[in-house]
Amino acid sequence: MTDEQTAVSDREAPTDAPAPELHGCPLTVSHTQDVLHVTRERLREVVKALGKDGYIQCLDSAGVDYLGYGADRGLPPGVEAQRFEVVVTLMNHEARKRIRLRVQIPESDPTCPSLSTIHPGTEAMERETFDMFGIAFDDHPDMTRVLMPEDWEGHPLRKDYSIGRVPVQFKGAPVRDVRQ
């Protein structure tokens, strides 16, 4: 967290105890679940530090597109909302706790550091996020589509990707007149 962001959170809550933090990142609670708001620059460092704290398994890594989201996103002061979010869920088996990391990803530069060097299991999930949202993961061993065909255009789970309707096409099928 930069000095500027610290200053903002200090202003917001001058009387109460300092805003909860973990590894220098603001910590909030959403429906009894811990949520840590990490910048993408510090993502790997924080995940490694959490690994030492006992969060040894990465359960999930997913994307969310907040384009046109009308409600409060539940971000703590000092975290600037961006269009995309990468949401990582880590598991601590000994303390029996999960922690969720919300990483803001700007629309202008949809990239995020890959966690596959720390948790190889995120490889497929990050490929899926790339496939569905177009968020590219740096240092990922195989940044290709996984569910959609390799030559597919667009990223289906983005909010500006319309569902539409595509007529069923059969490649190379002869055109027949059904009346005959």
Binding site: I56, L59, G70, G74, T89, P120, T122, L157, I163
Partner: protein, 449 residues
């Protein structure tokens, strides 16, 4: 309970190995972390379709390895899984699972369906354990709604899920037997499955894709005579599981075929995000029902089944014995099923009974609002997870305060477990690859969504 020290994850233990000459390059095998071991073996093949097409036109050289395509229509791939396997003779070097053939955009569809309609969509993901999908969906929405369920609804859910676990594991037993050429087991497995499905059909009205567990409870109460049916299922399973021990577990051919095949260590399984029977087969006792109880699992008595070697045999044995534990849970549920409502009495969540609509204007309005706009779930985000027959099935739900989820992300255990395949198959024979695929028990409907 066996646990792995978290320090094996990082580099802490390596520090103690430092000498005057600095850290040594080779450490004992047990000190290698899962991440390092996976990197060292390099068993994942990464080859795009375009690259493969270029390579296919090349004249083969003398030192070339063979790349073999299995699937997507091969019967041993449990659906439409395709594997590109690099072979040196009969040994498997690297594997690339290719998925997406069943992708129908269920997560996108989920954003277009209200919370009332949503269960009918998600139930089709993991088609062997549809009730777990519905349960996770309902739990995620209920967490956002902050509602407490009546006790009977919780226990009905638990009852149905444990029967569903029997269905799933029985089908695994059958298909696993078929893959290993124990065709009689295939018939027995499907016989057991049908027996449970008949019960589920009686309760929910549908054999599969039940759409029975809804946000706020269940769709209906249990029918008369359900206790007798569940007890009959339990008795049958107790008898038949002992028969399967004779038919398979203690049979030398079966043991020869599975023991020592497709081994994965605890560290590797954790690094790859594996959960459920795959993780437990390595001797790591982690079961959400026990460790992070949901529903009323903290009130029933059961054991977490663990293996020891992390091979195909252990994964088979873990599932077989989990069926015994499910039967144990079912018997307790039959004894202790509480009375009361089967869904929450909240007119913003639960539709009114049909008869009330004719009498009450308010009921009519609530009914209309629920079925046109859906349940209004407060804005926020939440993650709910259950122990499905395959592992941790999670749903991350973001709501914007309307009747439809803003984002519905699934953590599908099968999708993540497919990443274990290359490491399990590495340096095994091609014939064992079939055993490995079968032991992972992937459901392609859930993989591709």
């Amino acid at each position: 309970m066996t646990t792995v020290s978290p320090s094996t994850h990082g580099t802490d233990r390596r520090v103690s190995q430092l000498t005057e000459e600095g850290a040594q390059g080779l450490l004992p095998r047990d000190l290698t972390s899962g991440v390092e071991a996976l990197r060292e073996f390099g068993s994942v093949m990464r080859l795009s379709e375009a690259d493969a097409a270029v390579l296919a036109d090349r004249e083969p050289g003398q030192d070339d390895t063979t790349v073999l395509n299995i699937g997507p229509q091969h019967p041993s791939t449990h659906g439409v899984l395709r594997l590109m396997v690099e072979l040196d003779g009969e040994r498997v070097l690297r594997v690339k699972p290719v998925v997406g053939y069943l992708h129908t955009g269920m997560e996108k569809t989920g954003e277009e369906l209200t919370y009332v309609q949503g269960a009918a969509n998600v139930t089709r993901m993991d088609y062997l354990s549809p009730l777990f999908n519905e349960l996770t969906y309902a739990m995620a929405a209920e967490r956002l709604l902050d509602i407490e369920l009546p006790e009977r609804a919780v226990w009905i859910r638990m009852l149905l899920c444990e029967v569903n676990r029997l269905v799933s594991h029985a089908t695994f037993n059958g298909t696993n037997g078929m893959d290993m050429a124990a065709v009689s087991m295939m018939l027995y497995g499907f016989r057991d499955r049908e027996m449970c499905l008949r019960f589920l059909e009686g309760v929910t009205g549908v054999r599969m894709n039940h759409n029975f567990i809804r946000v706020g409870g269940t769709a209906a109460d249990l029918p008369d005579g359900w206790k007798r049916q569940v007890i009959d299922i339990c008795d049958e399973f107790d008898r038949r599981l002992d028969e399967y021990d004779i038919l398979l577990t203690n049979q030398p051919i079966w043991q020869e075929r599975l023991q020592g095949v497709g081994v994965i260590t605890t560290e590797e399984a954790l690094a790859l995000g594996a959960t459920g029977p795959i993780l437990r087969s390595t001797g790591y006792a982690w079961d959400l029902r026990k460790d992070m109880p949901y529903l009323a699992y903290d009130e029933v008595d059961f054991d977490v089944v663990v293996g020891q070697y992390g091979d195909c045999f252990d994964r088979y044995a873990v599932r077989l014995n989990e069926m015994r534990e499910s039967v144990r849970i079912l018997r307790q549920i039959v004894d202790r099923m509480p009375g009361g409502d089967y869904r929450v009495q909240d007119s913003k969540v639960t539709p009114p009974p049909r008869a009330r609509i004719d009498e009450s204007m308010e009921a009519l309005i609530h009914h209309f609002k629920l079925f046109t706009g859906g349940i209004e779930v407060p804005a926020g985000e939440a993650y709910a997870a259950v122990e499905s027959p395959r592992g941790e099935l999670g749903c991350y739900m973001v709501s914007d305060g309307t009747g439809k989820p803003w984002r519905m992300r699934w953590r599908p255990p099968s999708f993540i477990h497919l990443q274990c395949l290359p490491h399990m198959m590495h340096l095994g024979t091609m014939a064992d690859a079939v055993a490995v695929i079968s032991s992972v028990d992937p459901i392609l409907g859930e993989v591709d969504r």
